[in-house]
């Protein structure tokens, strides 16, 4: 079974609107959770991580993510999306020595 799930293949928003990319996880114990972004023809870039502590984690490029233990979720958010945020986003969870990635969500921000 997948350790992380991204229920939406695609998310479309207008520039300036809030952006949310959903992720749920299913690992035991305290999860280490991550978000990555992949721009076209590029490798993955690390956005942010959750280890412990505050449930709201801030990361690069104005992104943040909220850890919710009761809902086993780690949704990525940005208050005001930019056209340049259009990319492929991956949620990941650490399992022992490796990261397991979700299927990815394609975000399109229209001008």
């Amino acid at each position: 079974a997948q350790s992380v799930a991204q229920p939406e293949d695609q998310v479309n928003v207008a520039e300036g609107n809030p952006l949310t990319v959903k992720c749920t996880y299913s690992v035991s114990g305290n999860p280490y959770l991550f978000w990555y972004v992949q721009y076209p023809n590029r490798g993955l870039q690390f956005l942010l991580k959750y280890i412990t502590g505050d449930n709201l984690v801030k990361g690069s490029y104005g992104f943040e993510a909220e850890f919710n233990k009761s809902q086993t979720s780690f949704h990525l958010k940005k208050p005001s999306a930019l056209v340049s945020d259009s990319a492929l986003y991956f949620c990941a969870v650490r399992e022992l020595y490796k990261l397991s990635f979700g299927a990815g969500t394609t975000v399109t921000v229209r001008a």
Binding site: Y32, F34, Y36, N41, R42, G43, L44, Q45, F46, K49, I51, F90, R94, Y97, K98, L99, S100, F101, G102, A103, G104
Partner: protein, 114 residues
């Protein structure tokens, strides 16, 4: 973060041939990871490469098909052997940094097998 250089960035290969991808890191690291990203898919871990020992392969990946070298703490190679069109993918090298073991990735090597 880490600076990770991969070569080649892309290549077009003929069926039945082999290609070696190089990964160079700007500082010494214990573990290097090789991932595959098939078209429109997520990332799948192929193997973990430790310096001085044989690579550890994930289920579904074997050394004969994906031999890996790790001659020192800043360099690794992945060979894709006897390629078929199904091997057309992006192959990504990554290293672990940070308090939670977050990974940093190279730009990837995009292989197309005809």
């Amino acid at each position: 973060s880490a600076v990770i250089s991969q070569k080649p960035s892309r290549d077009i290969c003929q069926r039945g041939t082999s290609l070696t991808i190089q990964c160079q890191v700007d500082s010494q690291v214990t573990m290097m990871f090789w991932y595959r990203q098939q078209p429109g898919q997520s990332l799948t871990l192929i193997a973990t490469a430790n310096q001085g020992s044989e690579a550890t392969y994930e289920s579904g990946f074997v050394i004969d098909k994906f031999p890996i070298s790790r001659p020192n703490l800043t360099f690794s190679t992945l060979t894709v052997s006897n390629m078929s069109p199904e091997d057309s993918s992006i192959y990504l090298c990554s290293v672990e940094r940070g308090s939670a073991g977050e990974l940093f990735f190279g730009e990837g090597s995009r292989l197309t097998v005809l």
